[in-house]
Symmetry: C2
Amino acid sequence: MPDSSSVPEVLFLMPQVNVKRVLDDLYTLREIGKYKTGVHRPTLSDDDMKTRYWLREELLKLGYDVHIDGVANVIGYSPTPGKKLLCGSHLETQNHAGWLDGALGIVYALEAARYLTESNKADVGVDVMAFADEEGHFGELIGSNSLVGNLTDEMLDKARNRTDGTPLREALARVGLATAPRTLIDRERYVGMFEAHIEQGSSLEVDENLIGIVTSIVGNWRFQITATGVQNHAGTTRMDMRKDAGAALMRMYNQIEQQFPLHAGSKTVWTIGKITLYPGAPSIVPGTAEMLFQFRDADENTLKHLKSVLEKIIQAENHNGPCEISIEMRGRSNPASMDEKMLREIEAAAETSASGKHVRMPSGAGHDARTIAQILPAAMMFIPSIGGISHHYAENTSDEDIALGAQVYVDAVTRILTP
Amino acid sequence: MPDSSSVPEVLFLMPQVNVKRVLDDLYTLREIGKYKTGVHRPTLSDDDMKTRYWLREELLKLGYDVHIDGVANVIGYSPTPGKKLLCGSHLETQNHAGWLDGALGIVYALEAARYLTESNKADVGVDVMAFADEEGHFGELIGSNSLVGNLTDEMLDKARNRTDGTPLREALARVGLATAPRTLIDRERYVGMFEAHIEQGSSLEVDENLIGIVTSIVGNWRFQITATGVQNHAGTTRMDMRKDAGAALMRMYNQIEQQFPLHAGSKTVWTIGKITLYPGAPSIVPGTAEMLFQFRDADENTLKHLKSVLEKIIQAENHNGPCEISIEMRGRSNPASMDEKMLREIEAAAETSASGKHVRMPSGAGHDARTIAQILPAAMMFIPSIGGISHHYAENTSDEDIALGAQVYVDAVTRILTP
């Protein structure tokens, strides 16, 4: 249960936001799929579906029209006429991950819905959305991509669970969504889209800021790099006769380590997430080696330049031999700029509740707001992550920071809708 | 079926060896667990057991006393009195591997047994042995280590299949060997042990030699190297804040590539067989990374020196940070010298049938002869591997080279037993 004693009393007294209700909701979700201090709610698991029906119930209480669509997006339509803001985030989590990643933005959106309902602001409203599978158990932001029309039925047919290979269609059928229609966003309905999230990094904490106002979401270009050599016996094959695919990949990595810092931007990041040597036996020189590699930056030109640097590294390695390295782009999200007008309203709200403790920053992580930015003005705000820990059950944020974030969020929603 | 047309007619006419029978036996074994042009006979699989019972039947026909012992060694005792040579190799194979690796040495030994039986050389004989699990599905040369007394019951209790984790005891029970006694070699019975094998490398082929006379079997020191960093989000964790365990391992590998050539012997080999990053997801900076690393040499001092070089590389990496690398020895076989007296007899046999086309050489691969050399004079001979391919279904040797090898083998056995 939340420890309300750490929350400054003033926040409980402010009329706009029911901080206790926000914390109670988050602690309720924390119990669903609980794993150590975090949660384990993979997309379309029983616990994931429990949270979707929980959100549905909460929105029905507000008089909302609520749908769970054909990819498990939960969409709550406000009954009020007039301008709408699309608010939300996601409910499923990475495996054995943190309790706030996704849930925070859902509960903030729900609180904004309650606030506007209780304030009888009959001319504006927020629609609340839980975007399905932001965490990529079955694909790439399947929920938001479906909403904006990027996702074909063929792509759905092919999508499979990354852990156990279950087809997405099968998983949807299991939870009764086989025939549910997929929703497309009615872009005329919204002034924009707004998502809150934990930072998942340590910048806010290190600089003692409380609110991050996201200026852009970085692009993320992902590759599979494959080296092909000749599989051979690790005892009988002389070093000068080998075509060791693993060694070739590691030499290439060494070039990345040397050259990327010379070409990258100050906030570029690059990561090797997985390496597989085939056959992967202790006494066999690997004949094939694969690597999942990605880099991210807020500037598309930097991404393009790094791709050419990578290609040159591979060219040089192939020139030197003895293995052949090939590269295949496995995914590509381009950087998205957030809406400046919305940013200014969030900034004004942050200045009101956290004067001097907010900062503009890019988001290094991908979010549904990046997808929605393709068709609507979009904005995001961050609250601090303790120690920057993310995608791990130890992920956490203080109740105090959560409460302040809720205040800024609801204030910003009001300002965006009634400027 | 064998293409006998490629075998010089003279070999069929030589009285000592029935070349057709040797080839027929090898092609019979090739059908058991056939996989593409090779075979798939993991230790204690149904197909592996079929070959053991096939060998048993063939030896029973010669009047041998045959046992399949408590680790699935097949041991055929010659009925003749007098001096004995222990001859053999192994029947199981690596997964989806070659048809001659192991089987060749078994069929040569069987042919030597038949030859001596048919020659009515009543005063000498060969015992024929199929050493179990030379290919390490359950452990390290379990069959030969059991025979020389290196293997305790506790080690047997712990041994598990490297592919599916099945306990060795369970696998032995499945094939009816749960209560079979384990055999210890009676060292007084033998003048020595002799094993033939394909080279598994390309030296013989490249230099146009037909017979390799093994002077020593290299030692093989094996390590698991583990880097520990901090698992984190690949988008939100700045490069200068990361403790990327995968990157640390690859930097260390780069040092191995640079320093090992300066310290290794001319025939030293080193291999990274497997790399695993945890959790191994595209968008997570790995918090732990593991590597299976090994090096081999015929000189124990070189092995010792390389171990200290490796330890220094790791020390330097730990000094530089930010990750912590640890190293654990996972297995260690020391080099073994082959018996010089036996080598000279093999050399004489090779010179008779392949004048000027034989060479003394170390074995880069481990073999049961290395284990048996701990208690008996031991010797090995190689025949060429086409393209040096090994541990792959494409492994092959021409029928002509197989036939010549059989001739040299039986001749050498005769010379060793009746010098």
